[in-house]
């Protein structure tokens, strides 16, 4: 027994491709409310081949089946997903014909996985080191001492701070960007042949994403591991992949070399993904009287101990858009909370439509509340799942305008027309809508109150690029029709260019750059704006290296 423990289980090594998926079909059973359960096909007739040491990017919108395909290379179906057809040949043997024990011996040994949210994927009860070396010990690849030594080397390679001691920390003691790199080290520790990266940088700030991306790319190059790199961001995948596969609705659209896909796409859908969806938005000159004027606002949580807003002053003009940009923790959403009265500021004043707003929610009149509406990032949790769309949109009509019966239903139908959905949706429940439709309903609910200003908090961040594009066009159209002003909070600079008239860049609770769109986006830049702009991935092979070299300051979270 002792002898067996010191010996690594042999890894099968066949000639030919490392991973060869042929005509893969994946199904799942769905249980729609009030209907009979039925089977749906998630992935249909997808084939791919991956040579040792190569990187294949899987790209597509949500629901394209990219994560499902990625996990199938580990013989894993998440939440009752079944691999029902085709072959998944890894190192020459078919995972669909491998039993539970065989799959266990393969997972963590031949293929490892890097999840989108490392913060959720690490066990909060154990030290990082114990989790990083776990697979290597389980499969007897390395002794404990050797595995820890390798882990520390990997930490160093991934440019984590204090590589010798970071393993002694618990997951909550390490930042998100660092955790994502520790997870990459965890995947590399057992010396696998293949790593599945499942949107490893999507949940990170752009300024952090660029560092993690560079670290992952270097680690792949130095260890000669093969990788499936899953993302919805073509610009990101172009930096790391040798080949790219475009998927849609579980089917293959196009598969080719990285250069070919981003420069000479052959399919219309790939072309739509590749072409930049910049909305040409002509900025308006600032008006005379602002509808909202925030003056020298300072706010804090925890009774004044931590200042999250420091002396913030911005103006929003009627019918125009002010974009507030910054990474997580910069105070963007706190500014929204101060304006809406949810977090009374310590100092400063907020003037709205010529009158000074009460600091606290309780001090504000019903009209104050009505004219200042809000739309959130997560449309599905911002709606009561047990109310129909008609009830949701009708509620502000009843509350603010005392509209009832036919009059209300008619207005709801009008609003549904405005958001390009049609009155047929009034009887639907939120669960029956797509992500984009849910956000449209939230927009209609905000509009129903006839507001002068709508605060949009990351309203397109959770949506696929093409869907987000539609929402932005809708918002611009509504602005022209209704003359409503937007305070648009986002971390995405492409969105800012499409929609803003003026921009405020926030960093650690302060506005570091503020002015009209053209002035803010014209050099010379301050260091932070420069970093922010340089960190936005461009669809250009070699962008990553250029961007890293040209930075004046390092991203946070390092």
């Amino acid at each position: 027994m002792a002898e067996a423990q010191s010996k690594a289980r042999p890894k099968p090594r066949a000639e030919g491709a490392l991973l060869d998926i042929r005509n893969l079909r994946i199904e799942a059973t769905v249980y729609p409310p009030g209907e009979k359960p039925r089977d749906v096909v998630l992935v249909d007739d997808v084939s791919l081949k991956l040579e040792r040491g190569k990187v294949l990017g899987l790209i597509g919108e949500s629901g394209a089946g990219k994560s499902t395909i990625g996990l199938s290379s580990m013989g894993f179906g998440r939440g009752g997903v079944r691999l029902t057809g085709g072959e998944i040949l890894l190192n020459g043997r078919d995972l669909r014909k491998t039993g539970a024990g065989g799959l266990r011996r393969m997972r963590g040994r031949e293929v490892c996985y890097v999840a989108q949210s490392a913060a959720a994927a690490f066990n909060p009860a154990h030290k990082l080191m114990d989790q990083v070396v776990e697979a290597a010990l389980e499969h007897r690849v390395l002794s404990r001492a050797a595995a820890e030594k390798r882990a520390i080397e990997l930490f160093r390679k991934l440019s984590l701070p204090n590589p010798e001691t970071i393993g002694e920390r618990y997951p909550h003691q390490v930042s998100g960007g660092q955790l994502q790199r520790v997870m990459t080290a965890m995947a590399l520790c057992s010396e696998p042949d293949l790593i599945v990266f499942d949107e490893p940088t999507t949940a990170l700030d752009v300024t952090t994403q660029i560092d993690v991306l560079a670290a992952i790319k270097e680690a792949i190059r130095d260890t000669h591991v093969a990788a499936l790199y899953i993302t919805h961001d073509l610009a990101v995948v172009a930096q790391v992949s040798d080949e790219i596969m475009v998927l849609r609705h579980g089917k293959l659209v196009e598969w080719g070399g990285t250069h070919q896909i981003i420069k000479e796409p052959r399919q219309a859908y790939t072309n739509a993904l590749v072409s930049v969806h910049q909305i040409e938005h002509q900025e308006h000159a600032p008006g005379v009287t602002p509808v909202l004027s925030v003056k020298n606002v300072t706010a804090s949580y925890g009774g004044g101990t931590v200042k999250v807003l420091k002396n913030v002053s911005v103006d929003v003009f009627p019918g125009q858009t002010l974009a507030v940009v910054g990474e997580s923790g910069s105070g963007k959403s706190t500014l929204a909370r101060a304006i809406t009265g949810l977090l009374p500021p310590l100092e400063g004043s907020i003037t709205f439509d010529g009158r000074t707003l009460g600091n606290k929610l309780a001090d504000r009149s019903r009209d104050d509340l009505r004219e200042l509406q809000m739309i959130y990032q997560m449309a599905d949790v911002a709606m009561n799942p047990r109310q129909t769309v008609g009830t949701i949109i009708g509620r502000p009509l009843e509350f603010y305008f005392k509209m009832h019966g036919r009059e209300r239903d008619q207005r709801v139908a009008e609003l549904l027309e405005k958001i390009e959905m049609g009155k047929g949706y009034a009887d639907r429940y939120p669960a029956e809508l797509s992500g984009g439709q849910k956000q449209r309903v939230c927009i209609a609910r905000a509009l129903a109150a006839k507001p002068k200003l709508i605060i949009c908090d990351e309203v397109t961040s959770a949506l696929d690029p093409l869907v987000a594009h539609g929402i932005l066009e809708l918002l611009l159209g509504l602005q022209a029709e209704e003359d409503v002003a937007y305070l648009f909070i986002t971390h995405d600079l492409a969105t800012v260019k499409s929609i803003a008239d003026s921009i405020a860049v926030m960093y650690r609770g302060e506005v570091v750059r503020y002015g009209s769109k053209s002035t803010v986006l014209t050099p010379p830049f301050d260091d932070y704006t420069d970093l922010l702009l340089r960190s936005v991935p461009e669809m250009e092979i070699g962008w990553l290296e250029k961007a890293i070299q040209g930075r004046k300051m390092a991203g946070a979270g390092n």
Partner: protein, 320 residues
Amino acid sequence: MGGATVAKLIAQRIALGVLLLLAVSVLIFAGTQILPGDVAQSILGQAATPQALENLRRELGLNDPAYIRYFRWLFGILQGDLGTALSNKRDIATALSGRLANTLFLAACAAVVSVPLAILLGLLAVRYRNGIIDKAISGFALASTSLPEFFIGYLLILVFAVKLQWFPASSTVYDSMSFLQRLQAVVLPATALTLVVLAHMMRMTRAAVLNVMQSAYIETAELKGLSPLKIIRRHAFPNAIAPIINVVMLNLAFLVVGVVVVEVIFVYPGMGQYLVDHVSKRDVPVVQAVGLIFAAVYITLNMVADIAALLANPRLRHPK
């Protein structure tokens, strides 16, 4: 800074426990004051002359205001003086100490079996969730809990004492008994108690661990190729420990304070039986003393559960 936070939280919890115990002592004292009847009357009987009653009242201090009597009682307890039983004029503390030890012994025997068994069964139920093993475990545990303890007790006596004659029907223990003899005496009552508390702890373990099994880090463990039992033991259980400790402590408290019926059935000389004897004799000082001890056990165990849950949280043990 982190150690200080945890120490502060624990100190707060202990202070709260002491405060709670004081409040309970007030309630117990007030409750027994509201009870109808008069202690002097019950000692002297119906035939007592008014003068004799008055003399005894003065002697016992019954004419003093209630709060003075409360503080006199409280300070007595703090010095280890639980008062004197009215019915037999014996010192309560002396009479209780042996019985408390007996009750704790029985509770400990039941706990040593039931807690590990319940957690093990809970983990097995998670491993084979929704399968035949899970259903069998749940069915057995729920059935044993649904049966009242007196029924289980008599059933055990019938089968193991009367029919099979493996164990004695009466669990009387004496000072002269050896440890093994004592163990043999408490097998049946300990089994009855185990059956009563098993299901609650088992179901809670199952639910708490199942809840954790939904987490993303369980998938991570699965994708490392760990076996299901290893995943449950190493990755799920440590994160489910807080709710499990809580329910275990609740049941341990029940083992001490809820044994009244079982002790009476098996004629076991513990606190419960002592309490029942004296309630029927309207012996107020004894009822107060026993009530206070039960309350102290309850509050202490819950406090231990809270502190253990605090210590089990890595975020509190290792702050940023």
